[in-house]
C-alpha cells in the first residue's frame, strides 16, 4: 500500500484537500472521541456529499462503491485494497448515510439508520446509499454511469439482511444507538490480525468502540419534516453516552437551523466555491473515452466553456452537462479534417452559434440532453433530421420537417410542442379571467357595459386622466396593474365579463362551469378560496400576458382595448 487513503482522497477530489484534511482531523483515530456534531455547508454541487462519503468509506471501510464513484484510476487503486474490505464487508457498518428527502419522517430516519448500522456497509453489487448522492451534490468526479454499469452487470449477490427493526420515536432510537455501539463483534479480532496498514494497532479497540457516524444529507429538510429532531441529534453523543458523531450536510447556514429553545451548536465546516483552476481540473476528468489524444484540445475547450458560462452558471454540474454535450460538436470539424487542431479561432467561431443555442435552450432544459444530442447528430448527418423529428413528434406534430440549418431545426421542433389548443369558449373564459384579474373592478362598467357604444372604448385621454387621478402616470409607476400581479376576482364577475366580451349570445349552461373547473385543474386559474367554501369562489388568473395575447389573437379579440394601464 504505497498510497494512504488520504492521498487517494486528495487525488480524487481536486481543490478539496483542505476540507478532507479537516474532516479526517475531526475523525481522528477510529476510537477517538469526536465532536458531537458537524455541519457541512456550502452551495450545491461543491462536493460535500461525495467528499464525506468517500472519506468515511475510505477510512472506515466498506462502501467500496463510493470509492469507485471516484474516477477510474482511483477506484482501481482502491480495488487493490479489496482483500481487506472483503473481510470487513460482513461486519456492521460504522456509519449510516441518510438522505433526508427520502427519509421524510422521523421514523424513516430512525429505521434506516438502525438498519444501516446493523448491517454490513452496502456492497458494490447491491448498490448503496452512497449512490443516493445525486448529481446536484456529487462532485465532478463521480462517474455513476460506469458504476451503474458494473452494478447492473454483476450478478446480484443475495445477502440476507437482518430483520427490519421498528423504531418509532427518539427514545427508542437513543436506546438503539446505545445497543449498536455496545455490540461486540469480530471486528476487533479482524483488526488485530489484518489491520497492519492502518496507523493504529487494534489492541486498544478491544476496550473501546469505534466512533459511529450518522450522516444526514440535505439536512435542511429536517427543519420541515422533524424540527424537534435537530436538537436531539446535536446532542446524541451526550444522550447515548457513546461515541457517536452526527454529520449534517446542507446548503444553508446553521443559523437557519436554530430553534427557539436553543441547543448545542455543531462545528461548522464550509465548502468554498471552486476556483477556476479547480473547476477546470475537475472538468478535465470528464474527458470522453477514446479522446485521449485530444486532451489538450479538450482542456482548451473546457477553458473556453468556463469563460463563457461562468458568469451565468456557477453550478459545476451544469458546466459538466454543457461540456459533455458541446464537446462532440466542438471536435467534429477537427475529426472531419475541416479545421486543424491548432486553429483555435476558427474552432471558436464554429462553436459560437451553439453556445448561444445552449444558453437559451439547453441550460434552461427546454430541450433535454438526448434531444440535444439527437438533434446535433441528425444535423450532422444531414437528411436524418426529418426522420428523428417525426419519431419524436409522431401524429400531427410528426411532420416537422428538418430545416436546413442546425439552429433552425432546433427551434422549429420546439415551437410545435409549445402550442396547445383550447376550446373556443374556454379561450374566452381565460381571457375574461385575465381581464378580471388585472383590471380594477371599478372600471368594469366602462369597459364592458353594453349600454353605450362609447363606453366600451376608452380614449387615450381618459385613460391618462384616469391614471393621473390615482396619483401615478401610466408608465413606470410602481402601482401599475401589470406589476402588481394577478388579483383575485369573484367567479361571478369573471362570468359577467365573459358574457360581455363574447360576440354571440351564449346561454349559460353547465359546460361553462366545468370548463372553469378544468382550467383550475390545469393551473391556469388558481383558486384562492379554500375548496370547502362553495359560495363566492375567488380565483386568480395564472397565465402570462404573452399567452393571453396569442389566445386573443387566435380568437380575433382585441385584448389591448380592454386592458387598463397595460403596455
Amino acid at each position: 500500500m504505497a498510497t494512504s487513503p488520504r492521498q487517494l482522497l486528495h487525488e480524487a477530489f481536486p481543490g478539496r484537500a483542505k476540507q478532507i484534511d479537516q474532516i479526517l482531523g475531526f475523525m481522528g483515530k477510529p476510537w477517538a472521541s469526536t465532536p458531537p456534531s458537524l455541519l457541512i455547508n456550502g452551495n450545491s454541487s461543491l462536493g460535500k456529499t461525495a467528499v464525506v462519503k468517500a472519506t468515511l468509506s475510505a477510512v472506515l471501510g466498506g462502501g467500496s462503491s463510493s470509492s469507485s464513484s471516484s474516477s477510474d484510476s482511483i477506484s482501481s487503486q482502491i480495488r487493490s485494497e479489496q482483500h481487506l474490505q472483503d473481510r470487513r464487508r460482513r461486519l456492521p457498518s460504522r456509519y449510516a448515510f441518510l438522505d433526508c428527502v427520502e427519509c421524510h419522517t422521523p421514523r424513516l430516519i430512525f429505521e434506516h439508520a438502525i438498519y444501516q448500522f446493523r448491517n454490513p456497509p452496502p456492497s458494490q453489487d447491491k448498490g448503496s446509499k452512497a449512490f443516493s448522492s445525486t448529481h446536484t451534490t456529487t462532485t465532478g468526479t463521480s462517474d455513476n454511469k460506469a458504476a451503474a454499469t458494473v452494478s447492473r452487470k454483476r450478478k446480484r449477490v443475495a445477502t440476507s439482511p437482518l430483520d427490519w427493526n421498528k423504531c418509532e420515536n427518539v427514545n427508542e432510537f437513543v436506546e438503539w444507538c446505545r445497543k449498536i455501539c455496545d455490540t461486540k463483534d469480530e471486528l476487533d479480532e479482524v483488526h488485530e490480525t489484518h489491520d497492519n496498514h492502518r496507523p493504529v494497532s487494534g489492541s486498544i479497540s478491544k476496550h473501546q468502540n469505534e466512533t459511529r457516524y450518522l450522516v444526514l444529507d440535505r439536512a435542511e429538510r429536517l427543519r420541515d419534516t422533524a424540527p424537534t429532531l435537530i436538537p436531539v441529534l446535536m446532542r446524541l453523543q451526550e444522550l447515548t453516552g457513546r461515541n457517536i458523531c452526527v454529520i449534517l450536510i446542507t446548503t444553508i447556514v446553521w443559523e437557519k437551523f436554530r430553534s427557539k429553545t436553543g441547543g448545542y451548536e455543531p462545528i461548522v465546516l464550509n465548502f468554498p466555491q471552486y476556483t477556476k483552476s479547480e473547476t477546470v481540473a475537475i472538468l478535465g476528468r470528464d474527458l470522453p473515452e477514446g479522446e485521449e489524444e485530444n486532451m489538450d484540445l479538450y482542456m482548451r475547450f473546457v477553458d473556453l466553456v468556463y469563460d463563457v458560462f461562468q458568469r451565468n452558471c456557477k453550478d459545476l454540474n451544469e458546466i459538466r452537462h454543457l461540456v459533455a454535450l458541446l464537446f462532440p460538436l466542438y471536435i467534429k470539424p477537427v475529426k472531419e479534417g475541416k479545421i486543424q487542431k491548432h486553429e483555435g479561432l476558427k474552432l471558436h467561431r464554429h462553436i459560437q452559434a451553439y453556445f448561444v443555442e445552449a444558453m437559451d435552450k439547453l441550460y434552461l432544459r427546454e430541450i433535454s440532453s438526448t434531444e440535444w444530442s439527437d438533434r446535433t447528430l441528425s444535423v450532422a448527418s444531414g437528411s436524418l433530421s426529418g426522420v428523428s423529428g417525426s419519431t419524436i413528434g409522431g401524429g400531427a406534430g410528426g411532420h416537422v420537417s428538418g430545416a436546413p440549418g442546425g439552429d433552425r431545426a432546433l427551434t422549429t421542433a420546439l415551437d410545435v410542442q409549445n402550442v396547445f389548443d383550447l376550446p373556443y369558449y374556454t379561450k374566452f373564459i381565460l381571457i375574461a379571467s385575465f381581464l378580471a384579474s388585472y383590471n380594477p373592478p371599478r372600471l368594469d362598467m366602462r369597459y364592458f357595459a353594453k349600454v353605450s357604444s362609447t363606453g366600451s372604448k376608452m380614449t387615450k385621454r381618459s385613460k391618462v386622466a384616469a391614471a393621473k387621478k390615482h396619483g401615478h402616470d401610466s408608465m413606470g409607476s410602481k402601482l401599475r396593474q401589470q406589476l402588481l400581479g394577478p388579483k383575485p376576482f369573484p367567479i361571478e364577475r369573471m362570468l359577467a365579463i365573459f358574457y360581455s366580451i363574447l360576440d354571440e349570445e351564449v346561454e349559460e349552461n353547465v359546460n361553462v362551469h366545468t370548463q372553469i373547473a378544468s382550467l383550475v385543474s390545469l393551473r391556469m386559474l388558481q383558486r384562492v378560496t379554500p375548496m370547502d367554501k362553495l359560495d363566492s369562489i375567488k380565483c386568480k388568473c395564472n397565465v402570462s400576458y404573452e399567452m393571453i395575447k396569442t389566445l386573443a389573437k387566435s380568437t380575433r379579440f382585441e385584448i389591448d382595448k380592454y386592458l387598463y394601464d397595460f403596455s
Binding site: 428527502v101 427520502e102 421524510h104 421514523r107 424513516l108 438498519y115 447491491k126 448498490g127 449512490f131 445525486t134 448529481h135 446536484t136 455513476n144 454511469k145 458504476a147 447492473r152 446480484r156 443475495a158 430483520d163 427490519w164 427493526n165 470528464d286 451544469e318 459538466r320 452537462h321 459533455a324 434552461l364 432544459r365 427546454e366 430541450i367 433535454s368 440532453s369 438526448t370 434531444e371 444530442s373 419519431t391 419524436i392 409522431g394 401524429g395 400531427a396 406534430g397 410542442q417 409549445n418 396547445f420 376550446p423 373556443y424 369558449y425 369573484p490 346561454e507 349552461n509 353547465v510 359546460n511 370548463q515 378544468s518 385543474s521 390545469l522 393551473r523 362553495l534 359560495d535 363566492s536
Partner: protein, 813 residues
C-alpha cells in the same frame, strides 16, 4: 297525483335483482317475466301510437345494438390507428431507455429517462389513453402498427428480439398522491400487486417495513431480478415505468421529492417516468425547480390532436361508412359545436352520439326500416302497421317525392298515398336509392377533398368536417367554394392539367365504387362517370401528343413540357405524392404572383400550343370544368331531397340539448319562478283582471312557500332583512286567505311535504272563518322555506349586519 305532489319526498326505484336468479326462482310468475323482458330489451317499449307488434320492437332493439356495436368498433379502430405511431414510439423509448444510454448520450451522470406525453387539454379523456399506453408498454410486443410505418415495424422487430423483458407499469393519478407518503405507497402497492408469482414477498418475515418505504420496492425488485436471472441469463432487467397521468394536478412539492427519490434509486431500480401534460412544456418548467429538472432526460411525444380525431371519426362514420344511422345537420352542428366550443372531449362526443342512436331507435317507429341491408324479403316490411304507413306518409321527404311523382306519373302517386301494399313494395327501392346516393356522395366528397388538397392555398382550406357539414346543410353546392376550386382547375396549364386528369382518373379507379363489375347489369353511376373521365383523359393525351410532335422543333420551351410529361408519366406509378407536391407548388406560385405574370403566363401558353390545337384544348378544358360542376351538382345534393331520408338521418336536437347542455340556472329559475311548469297544477292562475301579465312576475299566494320567498328574494338587494322578508311573506299569505274567503283554499302544494304541519294546517282551516292566519303557522312556514333556500345556496347567514342574511346568487355584481 296528490300523493306525489311533494318535491322533497323520496321515491325509490327498486330494480329486480339479477336476471338469472329470478328466472330460476319464479318462472311461473308472468308479471315478473314481463318485467324481465323489459330489462332484457334495455327498456325498449312498444310504441303505442302506431300500435306496433312486439316483433317490431325487438327488431328496433336488435338494430340499435348492431348499429352501436358497429359504430363503437369503427370509432375504436380510428382512435387506435391515429395513435399507433406515437404508441410505438413510446414503446421504443421505454424499452431502449436503459440500453440507449450507453450508446448514444455521453452524460457525466445518470439522468432519469422521462417521456412527456402531450395528450391534449381534455383530461377526462386521458384515462383510456393512458391505460392504452400502459398496456402497450407492459406487453412484450410492440403495438401493431399499420402498413404506413414500415420502418418503425422493423425497428420494433429489432427491439423485441434483443430485449424481451416486459416492463412493469404503474399509473399514478394526482388524486392518489396528495402527499409524498401516499404517492410512494400507491406506487409501491401497484408494483407489488403486479409481482410475478413465485417472487418472494419482501413483506414476509421480520417486522413489517412501512408501506411507503422505498426499501420495500428495492427488495421486491431484487427478488424479481433474481427470479429472472434463474430463467435466462441474457434477459434484460425489467424496467419500472411510472406514469404520472395528470401532471398539472399534482402537488408540485410532492412531485419534486418523488422524482428526486426515484432518481436516487435509479442505480438500483431502472425507473422510467412518463408524464401526461395537458398544456405545454411550460407546466413542467413552472412546476419543477432546476435541481429536479436537471435530473430528467426528457423526450416529447405528441399525441394526436383531439380535433383531428373528431374529424377522422366523422369521416369514417358518416362519409365513408355504410352504417345505418346518420346524423343530420342540426344535431351534427350541435355535436361539433359542443366539442369545439367547450371541451375537446372525444369521449363526450361518443356518448352524445350514443344518445342519438339510442333515441332514434327508441322513439322512432320507422327505425325498423333503418337497416342498410333492407331488401324486399325483410321481415321488417311485414310488420308495418297502418300507424307506420301514416308516419311514412307524413314524412316531408315522402310528400315531396309524391308531389314530384304527381306530374310524371299521377297514378303511381295516388297508389303511394292510398295503397299500403304498393308502398311496401316501393320501400326497398327507395332505401336502395338512398344507399346508392350515399355511396356516390362519399366518393364525390373524396373528389372534392382531392381537389382541395391539390391547391394548397390556406385561404380556401376547410376541414373535412366543415365541408361535410356544409353538404348536410345543403349549402355546399351553392357555396363559393366549389366555383373557386373550379376556377383554379381552369387556370392549370396544359401539362399540369394532364397530371390532374390522370390523378383524377386514378382516384376514381381506386375507389371501391368502381371496382370492375362482373356484368354490365351491376354497373352503377360511378362507372359511367369513370368512362367520362377516361374519355377526357384519352382525348387530352392525344391532343398533347400531337402538340408535342408538331412543335418539337419550334421552341425549347415545348420540349420542356414534353419532358415534363414524360417525367410525370414515368413517375406516375410511384411518385404520386411527389408530383402532387410539385403541382401544388406550381399553383401556389401562380397565385402569389401578380396579375401581370398571370397574363404573361397566358401568352406563354398560347405560344406553346399551336393555334389549331388551341381551340380543341380550350374545348377540352371547358368540358372538364363542366364535368366537375356536373359531378358536384348531381352527387353532392342535400340529403333532404332524397325520399325517406328521415329514417336514416337523425335530425332532432331538443332532447339532445336537454341531456348534454343542461342549464341549471334556467331550471332553477323556472322551478322557483314558475312552479306550475313543473307541478302541472291548476290553482296558480293569474287573477282574472290581469290576464296580460305573465305569471313569472307575479307572486301568487297559492304558490309554494319557497317560491313565494324566492320571488320576494329576487326583489331584495345584497342584504336581506329577515323581518321585512317575513312580513312580506305574511302579507302575501294573508292576501291569499282573503281572496279565497270562506271558500276552501285549493289544495296547497306544501301540504304533503311536511306531515307535521298537516295538523296545524287543518286547524288553520278550521279557523279560516275568522279570516286570520295563525301567526305561528306563518312563521313556521317562513322558517322552513328560508331553510330550504339556504340549503339550496341562495342565502347564507352573515355577521355583518344583525337580522340580515346575505344574498348569494345573481345579485348585482
Amino acid at each position: 297525483m296528490d300523493e306525489f305532489d311533494s318535491l322533497t319526498d323520496g321515491v325509490f326505484f327498486v330494480p329486480p335483482s339479477t336476471a338469472g336468479k329470478i328466472a330460476g326462482k319464479s318462472k311461473t310468475k308472468s308479471g315478473k317475466a314481463a318485467q324481465l323482458e323489459h330489462f332484457k330489451l334495455d327498456g325498449f317499449q312498444q310504441l303505442k301510437d302506431v300500435s306496433e307488434p312486439i316483433e317490431a320492437m325487438e327488431i328496433r332493439h336488435a338494430l340499435f345494438n348492431r348499429e352501436w356495436e358497429l359504430m363503437t368498433g369503427r370509432i375504436e379502430n380510428v382512435m387506435r390507428n391515429m395513435n399507433t405511431m406515437v404508441l410505438s414510439a413510446i414503446y421504443n423509448f421505454v424499452h431502449n431507455a436503459y440500453s440507449r444510454q450507453y450508446s448514444n448520450a455521453v452524460m457525466p451522470f445518470l439522468e432519469l429517462p422521462t417521456g412527456l406525453i402531450f395528450a391534449g387539454i381534455n383530461v377526462p379523456d386521458h384515462d383510456l389513453l393512458f391505460q392504452q399506453i400502459a398496456q402497450t408498454i407492459s406487453s412484450s410486443t410492440p403495438p401493431s402498427s399499420g402498413p404506413l410505418e414500415a420502418d418503425d415495424m422493423e425497428q420494433d422487430h429489432n427491439t423485441t428480439t434483443s430485449a424481451r423483458s416486459a416492463s412493469h407499469v404503474v399509473i399514478l393519478q394526482s388524486k392518489d398522491c396528495t402527499n409524498l407518503k401516499s404517492a410512494q405507497k400507491s406506487m409501491i402497492e401497484q408494483f407489488l400487486g403486479l409481482g410475478i408469482a413465485g417472487a418472494t414477498n419482501p413483506l414476509e418475515g421480520g417486522t413489517r417495513l412501512q408501506n411507503y418505504d422505498m426499501l420495500v420496492l428495492e427488495r421486491w425488485y431484487q427478488s424479481l431480478c433474481e427470479s429472472n436471472d434463474g430463467a435466462s441469463e441474457e434477459r434484460k432487467q425489467p424496467t419500472l415505468v411510472v406514469i404520472l397521468q395528470d401532471f398539472e394536478s399534482f402537488d408540485y412539492d410532492t412531485l419534486q421529492d418523488f422524482i428526486t427519490i426515484c432518481s436516487n434509486y435509479q442505480d438500483r431500480i431502472p425507473f422510467v417516468l412518463l408524464m401526461g401534460l395537458a398544456t405545454s412544456i411550460d407546466a413542467l418548467h413552472q412546476g419543477l425547480p432546476k435541481a429536479v429538472l436537471s435530473r430528467l432526460q426528457t423526450r416529447k411525444f405528441q399525441m394526436q390532436q383531439s380535433s383531428e380525431c373528431l374529424t377522422a371519426i366523422i369521416e369514417d362514420l358518416f362519409i365513408h361508412a355504410n352504417v345505418g344511422l346518420m346524423v343530420g345537420s342540426l344535431p351534427l352542428k350541435q355535436l361539433i359545436d359542443q366539442f369545439i366550443h367547450y371541451n375537446f372531449s372525444v369521449g363526450g362526443f361518443i356518448s352524445n352520439l350514443k344518445y342519438i342512436v339510442m333515441h332514434h331507435f327508441y322513439a322512432n317507429p320507422l327505425s325498423i326500416l333503418c337497416d342498410r341491408s333492407l331488401t324486399a324479403q325483410s321481415k321488417a316490411l311485414d310488420l308495418l302497421t297502418t300507424g307506420h304507413f301514416d308516419h311514412l306518409r307524413m314524412l316531408p321527404s315522402f310528400q315531396q317525392y309524391v308531389e314530384g311523382k304527381l306530374e310524371s306519373d299521377p297514378q303511381e302517386a295516388e297508389m303511394l298515398i292510398l295503397d299500403d301494399e304498393f308502398l311496401v313494395q316501393q320501400i326497398p327501392d327507395l332505401v336502395q336509392g338512398l344507399r346508392e346516393y350515399h355511396q356516390n356522395f362519399g366518393m364525390i366528397f373524396d373528389f372534392l377533398w382531392f381537389l382541395q388538397t391539390r391547391f394548397s392555398i390556406s385561404l380556401l382550406k376547410k376541414p373535412k368536417r366543415a365541408l361535410y357539414f356544409m353538404a348536410l346543410e345543403g349549402s355546399l353546392i351553392n357555396s363559393s367554394h366549389i366555383p373557386f376550386l373550379q376556377s383554379l382547375v381552369r387556370k392549370l396549364d396544359s401539362n399540369n392539367m394532364m397530371i390532374f386528369v390522370e390523378d383524377w382518373l386514378r382516384l376514381f379507379k381506386e375507389s371501391p365504387q368502381c371496382v370492375p363489375k362482373q356484368s354490365t347489369a351491376l354497373e352503377n353511376a360511378m362507372d359511367r362517370e369513370l368512362v367520362v373521365v377516361q374519355s377526357i383523359r384519352d382525348r387530352m393525351t392525344a391532343l398533347l401528343d400531337n402538340v408535342s410532335e408538331d412543335s418539337v422543333t419550334s421552341s425549347s420551351e415545348t420540349e420542356d413540357i414534353g419532358e415534363d410529361i414524360d417525367k410525370s408519366s414515368k413517375t406516375l406509378d410511384g411518385g404520386f405524392v411527389k408530383k402532387r407536391k410539385l403541382v401544388s407548388l406550381n399553383v401556389y406560385a401562380h397565385e402569389t404572383d401578380g396579375r401581370q405574370t398571370r397574363i404573361a403566363k397566358k401568352t406563354r401558353e398560347t405560344t406553346r400550343i399551336p393555334k389549331g390545337a388551341l381551340g380543341a384544348y380550350t374545348l377540352l378544358v371547358k368540358e372538364i370544368d363542366e364535368t366537375i360542376s356536373r359531378l358536384f351538382r348531381t352527387y353532392l345534393v342535400c340529403h333532404t331531397s332524397m325520399p325517406l331520408n328521415e329514417i336514416y338521418y337523425y335530425s332532432q336536437i331538443a332532447i339532445q340539448q336537454k341531456a348534454f347542455l343542461p342549464q341549471p340556472r334556467a331550471s332553477v329559475q323556472t322551478a322557483l319562478g314558475q312552479p306550475e311548469v313543473y307541478l302541472n297544477c291548476d290553482c296558480c292562475r293569474p287573477p282574472s283582471g290581469s290576464a296580460d301579465q305573465s305569471l313569472a312576475d307575479m307572486v301568487l299566494p297559492t304558490q309554494h312557500d319557497t317560491c313565494i320567498l324566492y320571488k320576494l328574494y329576487v326583489e331584495c338587494g345584497r342584504m336581506i332583512n329577515m323581518y321585512d322578508w317575513f312580513t312580506a311573506f305574511g302579507m302575501i299569505l294573508e292576501r291569499g286567505e282573503q281572496s279565497t274567503g270562506v271558500e276552501e283554499p285549493p289544495a296547497k302544494k306544501r301540504a304533503g311535504a311536511k306531515g307535521s304541519r298537516v295538523g296545524s294546517k287543518a286547524r288553520t282551516k278550521e279557523n279560516a272563518n275568522t279570516n286570520k292566519l295563525d301567526q305561528k303557522d306563518v312563521q313556521a312556514r317562513f322558517i322552513s322555506g328560508v331553510a330550504e333556500l339556504q340549503f339550496m345556496g341562495f342565502i347564507k347567514s352573515t355577521t355583518r349586519k344583525t337580522d340580515h342574511v346575505m344574498r348569494l346568487t345573481w345579485g348585482n355584481i
